[in-house]
């Protein structure tokens, strides 16, 4: 187990190195970092001087090593717009985003587990059909469209929640729902099919023949085992939630990392963009690792 964790951590470091290379190439090769730092009418000589001052005339590999060396120490440069270290700005926004993603994940799991179990229990009933159809629909709708629909229904029509903004718990509901609907649509069919598989197992028949109640069989015998693969998918939903939060935060004016990042992209504030992508990648890799370890903990048959 210790060896496995060490191996996975080693892989994660390599992956992060590749991520930094992608971020670096994207900003320095695909785009011109000086493009937005000088006035539009700056002469070519001025631009050249700027490039030299920033060290952009050095070989690409040297520049990358320089970028990497600083990145390891948490220095991604200053934000052009705020003139503060980009990493501090991003870290300030992080808890707000995690609050949204956490609430969304909670909603998703709270929706998905009962709906998944019930639609397996009443497989092929009208209830199952409705749940399956809704989850198919949830997967077919981009999250900005779900967000707009929720605003239309819950904020404009029924005036239950505010259209956008932050501050109270009510502000959190619609953006979290937007993200949760998408995640739940992925999780529900999985719980359903796992439950159906597990219900065929011998130990369920044994439990039934012993006279164990249906409720106990469903919840204790079946669900516990159907949960194993679900844990992985829930963990894999985390990057999706963070990625989806980019747009969702923009729609609902939620002041998290996603909204901050979109603003930075629009302002071409590349230090901020780089640090945000880096942080999101770290979270994703960490979530994947945790998922694999939890998988191993809850299913004693899996040994690495």
């Amino acid at each position: 187990m210790g060896k496995y964790i060490a191996k996975r951590l080693g892989q994660a470091v390599v992956v992060l190195l590749i991520v930094t290379a992608i971020i670096f190439l994207l900003v320095n090769v695909a785009g011109d970092p000086t493009a937005n730092m000088l006035p539009l009418d700056a002469s070519e000589a001025d631009r050249q001087a700027m490039r030299e001052a920033m060290g952009l005339n050095r070989p690409l590999f040297i520049q990358y090593m320089d970028f990497l060396g600083k990145a390891i120490r948490g220095d991604f440069g200053n934000s052009y717009r705020y003139n503060l270290p980009a990493i501090n700005l991003a870290l300030q926004r992080m808890p707000v985003s995690l609050q949204l993603a956490g609430t969304a994940l909670l909603f998703a799991v709270l929706f998905a587990i009962p709906l998944g179990i019930l639609s397996a229990k009443f497989a092929n009933s009208p209830f199952d059909l409705v749940v399956s159809s809704v989850s198919v629909l949830g997967r077919a709708m981009p999250n900005f469209w779900i967000g707009i629909l929720l605003i239309l229904l819950f904020a404009v029509n029924w005036k239950l929640f505010p259209v956008s903004g932050s501050g109270t718990a009510k502000h959190l509901v619609l953006p979290a729902m937007t993200l949760a609907i998408q995640s739940a649509s992925q999780i529900i069919p999985l719980i359903r099919s796992n439950m159906l598989d597990v219900m065929q197992e011998d130990y369920i028949r044994t439990a039934r023949s012993k006279g164990v109640g249906e409720g106990v069989i469903t919840m204790v015998h079946a669900f516990k085992n159907a949960l194993v693969p679900v844990v992985t998918v829930v963990a894999l939903e985390i990057p999706g939630l963070i990625g989806g939060a980019l747009i969702t935060e923009t729609i609902f004016a939620w002041p998290g990392l996603g909204q901050f990042l979109i603003q930075a992209i629009n302002n071409r504030d590349m230090s901020v963009v780089q640090v945000c992508i880096f942080m999101i990648s770290v979270i994703t890799l960490f979530a994947n690792l945790v998922a694999d370890l939890v998988y191993c903990l809850i299913d004693p048959r899996i040994r690495y």
Partner: protein
């Protein structure tokens, strides 16, 4: 006499309700895109200040003249949706061709050669997986010029990881099959084994992944356009229409809702068709179509 394979596929299609619906939607979309000029009643960018924000025909105050109503500039929404199909199809299909080519090539190399090449390709795949695709595409589009070609390239280049993973795992299984081992034994060069023996056997998976990938590419394009970094006016994209409609959500719901429905129906159609294809092409997978 042997039956034509087309007849078998048609029979399988008719057995699947969702497969039929999917095929119908996708066909309708292609027809819309090709004959946009003939189908759309109005020029999609024709502004009409007298007919601004008219509700759809089935609502109070609407008229048959503008079937799905008009937006804030008096554009006919139906005509814009019809023209928007073009952007969705072009970007969806072309970017999937790019993604499919890159991903399949990587998957073949990683699976067939294994070892160092496999390790490197898999770590690069992990790295691309760790960055949300919309985010990567967003930054790439923002540093390059925006336009249909850029979007196709960006969405294509950010979408290859599924192919690489699926193809790699198939190749790993194929490598142990007799016909591949036989080819190796008689000294067939590696590239011939890959192209003649392995590639044809992974193609069905590639096709299935591609169908579903068209749907995600369409969503990616509309997301970028919704954020104002994708298709720029006067070109029409459903994502851009939704973004306009967002400002009128409190008063004129149809401006955002109509392109939203078009997007959902399209994605749904492609998903249905893709799932059906998966059922038909993969005998191990039991689903509604098999």
């Amino acid at each position: 006499m042997q039956k034509k394979p087309g007849g078998r596929i048609l029979r399988l299609l008719l057995q699947s309700y969702t497969g039929c619906v999917g095929l119908f939607i996708v066909t309708a979309m292609v027809v819309f895109a090709v004959f946009a000029k003939q189908i759309a009643p109005f020029e999609p960018n024709a502004m009409n200040p007298l007919e601004m924000l008219k509700p759809p025909a089935f609502c109070e105050g609407g008229s048959m003249k503008h079937l799905l109503g008009t937006d804030n500039l008096g554009h006919d929404i139906f005509s814009r949706i019809v023209y928007g199909t073009r952007v969705s199809i072009i970007i969806g299909v072309c970017s999937v061709l790019i993604a499919g080519f890159i991903g399949t090539a990587f998957g073949l190399v990683a699976g067939y050669f294994g070892g160092f090449a496999d390790a490197v390709i898999m770590r690069v795949t992990d790295a691309f997986h760790a960055i949300p695709r919309t985010l990567l595409a967003l930054v790439a589009v923002s540093v390059m010029s925006s336009g249909v070609t850029t979007l196709i390239i960006v969405i294509g280049v950010t979408g290859w990881i599924t192919y690489a993973r699926v193809v790699r795992s198939e190749v790993l299984a194929l490598k142990n099959r007799e016909f591949v081992k036989a080819a190796i034994t008689v000294g067939t060069p590696d590239w011939r084994i890959i192209l003649d023996h392995i590639l044809p056997n992974v193609l069905s998976s590639v096709i299935v992944v591609s169908t579903l990938a068209v749907a995600t590419s369409i969503i990616a394009e509309s997301s970028l356009s919704f954020l104002g970094l994708g298709i720029q006016p006067p070109s029409i994209s459903w994502g851009g229409m939704l973004s306009t409609g967002r400002s009128y959500i409190a008063t004129n719901w149809w401006v955002a809702t109509m392109p939203g429905i078009a997007l959902t129906v399209t994605v749904l159609g492609i998903m249905f068709l893709g799932n059906w294809l998966r059922d038909v092409m993969d005998p191990h997978h039991t689903g509604s179509g098999s």
